[in-house]
C-alpha cells in the first residue's frame, strides 16, 4: 500500500500526458496525473464529468455498471460513464444531459419536452440516464416500437416506476420527430 497516493507510479513511458475531450460541443484539454484538476488514470468518465468539469447532471447511483443512471453519449452511442475510464476517452465526443438542448436557441430537445409533458419521472434521479439511453435509441431508430423502447431501456433502473410514462414520452418524442421532418 503506497503511503502517499501521489507516489503511485503511472504507466511508465505513457506518451500521452494529456487528453482531449469534447463535451457538449466544448473542447477540454485535460492533464493526466495526480495533480488537482487532472485526470487520474483511476478516474471514471462519470467522475471527470461531475467532479472535474462540474457537469453534475450525469448521476451516479450504483457506480458499478448495473443501473444506467450515469448513461451519456459517446460518439452518439450510449455508454455507462461509471464503467468508462476517462484516460480511454481521448479524442471522443461526449454528450451529457446538459448538452441536449439546442446550443444556439436553448430550446429543449423534443425528448426532454416529452418527458415534461408526460411527467415521465417521479424522483428524477434516474431521468438523465434514461433520457440519454432513449436519445441513443432515437439516433439509431427514429421510429421505434414500444418493444424496441423497452429493450433499449433494459439497462436503466427506475425505482419509482415511471417506466410506463417514460415509454409514452419516448413514443411521443419519436412522433414529434416525424412531424418536424414532414
Amino acid at each position: 500500500m503506497a503511503k502517499n497516493r501521489r507516489e503511485r507510479p503511472h504507466k511508465a513511458g505513457a506518451k500521452t500526458a494529456s487528453i482531449t475531450l469534447t463535451v457538449n460541443g466544448r473542447i477540454y484539454g485535460l492533464e493526466v496525473g495526480g495533480a488537482p484538476g487532472a485526470v487520474d488514470p483511476a478516474h471514471t468518465l462519470a467522475f471527470t464529468l461531475r467532479e472535474t468539469l462540474g457537469l453534475t447532471g450525469t448521476k451516479v447511483s450504483c457506480d458499478n455498471g448495473a443501473c444506467g443512471c450515469c448513461t451519456v453519449l459517446m460518439d452518439d452511442k450510449a455508454v455507462l460513464s461509471c464503467m468508462t475510464l476517462t484516460v480511454e476517452c481521448d479524442g471522443k465526443r461526449v454528450t451529457t444531459i446538459e448538452g441536449l438542448r439546442d446550443a444556439e436557441t436553448g430550446r429543449l430537445d423534443p425528448l426532454q419536452q416529452a418527458f415534461i409533458d408526460e411527467t415521465a419521472f417521479q424522483c428524477g434521479f434516474c431521468t438523465p440516464g434514461i433520457i440519454m439511453s432513449a436519445k441513443a435509441l432515437l439516433n439509431e431508430n427514429p421510429r421505434p416500437s414500444q418493444e424496441e423502447v423497452k429493450e433499449a431501456l433494459a439497462g436503466n433502473f427506475c425505482r419509482c416506476i415511471s417506466h410506463y410514462q417514460v415509454i409514452d414520452a419516448v413514443m411521443a418524442a419519436s412522433t414529434v420527430k416525424e412531424e418536424v421532418a414532414k
Binding site: E98, I116, D117, Q122
Partner: protein
C-alpha cells in the same frame, strides 16, 4: 368534480420538471462547498465483536487525511427507541457497523485511509434468527434488551401508544366460529426500498453548538427534532432539504450518517460530505423489517371473523429506531382491514445481528398484511369464501372504528370504498377469473394462471401536525413556506396548485421556498400518504389566512365588508359591485401579507387500495410471470393525474409487489454478510418485463379539506405482495408460505425440487 377548478386535477408540468430533464436539479451529491472534505467509514467485517484496540496512526499520517475518529473520540450521542444505540460504540453488532470515521480531501484518499486503520476485535457469538435470539442463553446484543426483545412502545405516540391488538374474548370468538384455522406465514426477505440516489449528507459544524446539514430526505424539519435528542439536546440543528432521488420512507431518517459527518466537521472545522456507496446503501442502510406470524383465525360461513390470536414476530436487525411505530401503525391498519371483535395479536420485536430495519413504504401494515391475509385465506379456503367479497365486506365502513397508534378509538367518517372495489373487480374480470381456492384461472400445458387480490388502508393520511405560511407580495405573486422536500411525488407542485387555487393566481406566480428548517414552520414531512390531506390542509389554511389578511388591508380602499371581497389574477374586487377593484399592489410596495395555517392530527379518515393481479406460472421451471395488475381506490379528488398515475404504478418497485416475486436481501446466516450488496445480485424489474397496469380512481368527495381529497400514494405497494402469494398458490394448486415466490420455492411446493 374537478371541472370547477383552474389548477386542481389539471395536468400541468411539475415546477421542477425543467431542472429534472435538463440535469440542473441539485441533489445533495451535486453540492460542493469550499474546503469540503469527504467522509468514508470503516465498517466491521464481523457480526458481533468488541473492539479491543484501534491503531489509526497510519491513516492519520496519510497526506490529505484531516481526521480519523473512533468510539473513544466522540461524545455519547445515542439514537434508537429507547436511545441505546451509540453513534460509534465499543461494540459492533452487524457486518457493516461503523468502527471508524475518516475525513479527507478526496473520497479516494479517505478510502485509502480505511485500509491503514488497524483494528483488533474480540469476536462474540452472533444470532441471525428470531427464534434463536429469543432462546435463553442467546447472545445478548444490548444489555438494555434482555432476551433480545426490544422495549415495546413508541412514546412519541402518547401515553397509551398502541403495542398490540388485544380486545374482546378470543376463546368465545373461536367458539362462535364455523371454522378455526391455524398456520404460520413469513415475509422475511428484507426487500430494500433502494432509491437510485444513495443516502447522503453534507454537514457543517460551527462552534460551539451549531450544525447545518444539507440533506436528501423527505422531512428536513424532522432532522432537527431527531438530532436534537440524539445530540444530548445541546446542538442547534438546521437542515436544508433539496431534491431527493427517491426515498420510499427509507431516507425519512439518516441520523447515523448525519452524526458521522457532523462529528468529522466538528473535528476539522470544515464541511464534510458523506455519500453512501451502493454497497453501503444495500448492506448498511435500512431494510424492511422481517415479519412472521403463527396465528389462529375463527371465521363464520358468511365471512365474519370471530377471533384472531397470534404472535407476530418482527426482526428489526441490530437496533430499532422506528419499528415500534411500524408495529403500532400496522396494528391500527389490521383493524381497518378486518372487522373483528375479538383479538389477541401480540407483537414481539426482536434484535438480531444483521443490518437494521427501518422505515419503508407500507410502514408495518404491509409487513402484517403479507402474513395476515394468507392466514385469513386458510379459513376462507375451508369455507369456500371468495377473497374479493371477503375483503370488501370486512374493510372499514363509515361508522366502524379502530384503535389507532395512540391507543385511542376513532370512528371512521370517510367514504365507503365498496364502489371503488367493485369497479376494480369489474375491470379486472374477477368474477370470471376466480375459480375457487387453489384452482388456476386457466391452464395451457405446463403454464398455469392464477389470480389474487389484496387490500390495504391507512389512517396516516391525517397523521401528525403540519404548519405552513403563505406570503403575498404586491407583485401579484405568492410564496409558500412548507418544509416539504420533493422526493418524487410531485407534492411541492401540488401544494403550489392549492395556493394558486385559493388565491386564484397563475401557478407560475406561486413559488415554494426551499425546505430549510430555519425559515419554515414545523412540518412532519410527506410521510405515508399524509401529504394531500395533512400538509395540504395546513397549506390551504395558510393561503386562506393570507387571502383574508389581504382583504383586511384593502377593504378601506374598496369599502364594504371583507366578506364581500374576492380576488382573481392579482385583483381584489367587490362581489356585489365588481366595478370596485384594486390590484394587489395597492397594499403598497413596502408591505407583504403573511398567512399561517396549521393542521391538527385527525385519525378518522383512511385511504384504501385494493390490488387485483394475475400471474402465470411455468410449472416446469417454476418461473412466475406477473401479467396484469388492477389497482382500485377512491382519492376523493385528484390533484395531479400524472403524479397519481406514477405513484400507483409504483406498486411494483420500492419493495412492493416485486418483493413477493423476486426481490430479496440475501443474508448469509453463518457469517452475517449480506450477499446481495450490489445492483446485479439484488434483483429489480427491468423495462422489458413490465406487466399491464390499470388504475381505477374514483373521486367521491371526502370530508377532508376544501378540495375533498385524500392521499393514496404510499399504499400502492402494500396490497400486492400477499395477492401474489394467493395468485401463485391458486395457479399451482398448493399453498406457498414464504416470500418471494422464486422458482425453487415454486418447484418445491410442486414436489419437483431437490431436498433443501
Amino acid at each position: 368534480m374537478t371541472a370547477a377548478y383552474r389548477f386542481i386535477g389539471k395536468v400541468m408540468p411539475r415546477k421542477d420538471a425543467l431542472d429534472i430533464v435538463s440535469g440542473t436539479s441539485r441533489y445533495v451529491s451535486d453540492i460542493k462547498l469550499p474546503d469540503m472534505l469527504h467522509c468514508k467509514v470503516l465498517r466491521s467485517p464481523h457480526p458481533h465483536a468488541r473492539i479491543v484496540r484501534v491503531d489509526k496512526s497510519g491513516a492519520e499520517a496519510l497526506e490529505g487525511v484531516a481526521a480519523v475518529l473512533t468510539w473513544q473520540d466522540v461524545p455519547d450521542w445515542k439514537g434508537g427507541t429507547p436511545r441505546h444505540t451509540r453513534v460509534l460504540d465499543e461494540k459492533v453488532r452487524f457486518v457493516g457497523d461503523a468502527v471508524a470515521l475518516v475525513a479527507a480531501t478526496t473520497e479516494q484518499i479517505a478510502e485509502e485511509a480505511l485500509d491503514l486503520i488497524k483494528v483488533e476485535y474480540e469476536l462474540m457469538p452472533a444470532v441471525f434468527e428470531m427464534e434463536d435470539a429469543l432462546r435463553p442463553g442467546a447472545p445478548q446484543i444490548y444489555d438494555e434488551y434482555p432476551g433480545n426483545v426490544v422495549t415495546p412502545g413508541m412514546p412519541f405516540f402518547g401515553p397509551k401508544n398502541l403495542k398490540d391488538v388485544v380486545m374482546g374474548d378470543v376463546e368465545s370468538g373461536f367458539a362462535q366460529a364455523d371454522v378455526v384455522t391455524e398456520g404460520t406465514f413469513g415475509y422475511e426477505n428484507m426487500p430494500n426500498p433502494l432509491p437510485p440516489e444513495p443516502p447522503g449528507v453534507i454537514a457543517l459544524w460551527e462552534e460551539p453548538n451549531k450544525l447545518t446539514l444539507w440533506v436528501s430526505n423527505q422531512a428536513s424539519y424532522m432532522d432537527t427534532v431527531t438530532l436534537f435528542h440524539v445530540m444530548e439536546r445541546q446542538v442547534e440543528v438546521r437542515s436544508i432539504g433539496g431534491p431527493c432521488g427517491g426515498s420510499f420512507g427509507s431516507k425519512f431518517m439518516s441520523w447515523q450518517m448525519q452524526c458521522h459527518a457532523a462529528l468529522l466537521s466538528r473535528a476539522t472545522g470544515k464541511p464534510v460530505k458523506f455519500i453512501f456507496t451502493k454497497e453501503e446503501h444495500l448492506a448498511a442502510f435500512v431494510l424492511r423489517p422481517s415479519s412472521r406470524m403463527n396465528a389462529r383465525v375463527g371465521m363464520k360461513k358468511d365471512g365474519t371473523i370471530t377471533a384472531v390470536a397470534g404472535r407476530w414476530l418482527i426482526d428489526t436487525g441490530y437496533y430499532s429506531m422506528t419499528t415500534q411505530s411500524q408495529v403500532a401503525v400496522g396494528c391500527g391498519e389490521v383493524q381497518i382491514m378486518v372487522r373483528c371483535p375479538n383479538w389477541d395479536l401480540r407483537p414481539v420485536i426482536v434484535c438480531t445481528n444483521r443490518n437494521a430495519s427501518g422505515i419503508v413504504r407500507g410502514f408495518g401494515g404491509q409487513e402484517l398484511k403479507c402474513i395476515l391475509i394468507p392466514l385469513l385465506s386458510l379459513a376462507m379456503e375451508k369455507l369456500d369464501i371468495d377473497p374479493f367479497l371477503f375483503l370488501k365486506k370486512n374493510f372499514v365502513k363509515p361508522g366502524d372504528g379502530y384503535f389507532w397508534r395512540d391507543g385511542i378509538w376513532y370512528t371512521y367518517r370517510g367514504v365507503d370504498y365498496g364502489p371503488a372495489m367493485d369497479k376494480g373487480a369489474a375491470l379486472f374480470g374477477w368474477e370470471e377469473k376466480w375459480k375457487g381456492w387453489l384452482k388456476p384461472s386457466s391452464t395451457a400445458g405446463a403454464k398455469k394462471r392464477g389470480v389474487g387480490v389484496g387490500v390495504h388502508g391507512n389512517a396516516d393520511i391525517g397523521e401528525d401536525a403540519s404548519e405552513a405560511y403563505v406570503r403575498i407580495h404586491p407583485s401579484g405573486k405568492a410564496v409558500l413556506f412548507s418544509c416539504v422536500t420533493e422526493h418524487g411525488t410531485g407534492q411541492r407542485t401540488n401544494f403550489a396548485k392549492m395556493v394558486a387555487e385559493v388565491l386564484q393566481i397563475p401557478l407560475d406566480n406561486v413559488s415554494v421556498a426551499p425546505s430549510d428548517s430555519l425559515t419554515n414552520p414545523y412540518e412532519f414531512g410527506p410521510a405515508g400518504s399524509r401529504g394531500t390531506y395533512a400538509i395540504g390542509s395546513a397549506v390551504i389554511r395558510a393561503a386562506e389566512d393570507a387571502r383574508k389578511k389581504l382583504f383586511e388591508v384593502l377593504v378601506p380602499r374598496l369599502g364594504g365588508d371583507v366578506e364581500d371581497l374576492d380576488t382573481m389574477d392579482g385583483l381584489v374586487f367587490s362581489k356585489s359591485s365588481p366595478e370596485k377593484k384594486v390590484p394587489w399592489k395597492a397594499i403598497g410596495p413596502d408591505r407583504t401579507v403573511t398567512g399561517y395555517g396549521r393542521f391538527e392530527p385527525d385519525y378518522t379518515l383512511t385511504n384504501c387500495m385494493m390490488t387485483f393481479l394475475e400471474v402465470e406460472v411455468d410449472t416446469e421451471t417454476g418461473q412466475v410471470t406477473l401479467l396484469r395488475v388492477v389497482n382500485a381506490t377512491d382519492a376523493g379528488c385528484v390533484i395531479d393525474p400524472q403524479g397519481l398515475r406514477g405513484q400507483l404504478n409504483g406498486c411494483l418497485g420500492s419493495a412492493g409487489i416485486d418483493s413477493a416475486l423476486f426481490e430479496e436481501t440475501v443474508l448469509d446466516r453463518t457469517t452475517g454478510h449480506i450477499l446481495t450488496g450490489n445492483m446485479i445480485d439484488y434483483k429489480w424489474r427491468v423495462f422489458p418485463d413490465l406487466p399491464e397496469i390499470e388504475n381505477v380512481v374514483l373521486e367521491t368527495p371526502f370530508p377532508s379539506h376544501r378540495f375533498g381529497a385524500v392521499g393514496v400514494g404510499e399504499v400502492a405497494t402494500s396490497p400486492g405482495p400477499s395477492a401474489i402469494l394467493m395468485a401463485v398458490s391458486n395457479a399451482i394448486g398448493t399453498r406457498l408460505y414464504e416470500y418471494p415466490v422464486t422458482p425453487d420455492r415454486v418447484l418445491r411446493a410442486l414436489g419437483k425440487g431437490g431436498a433443501r
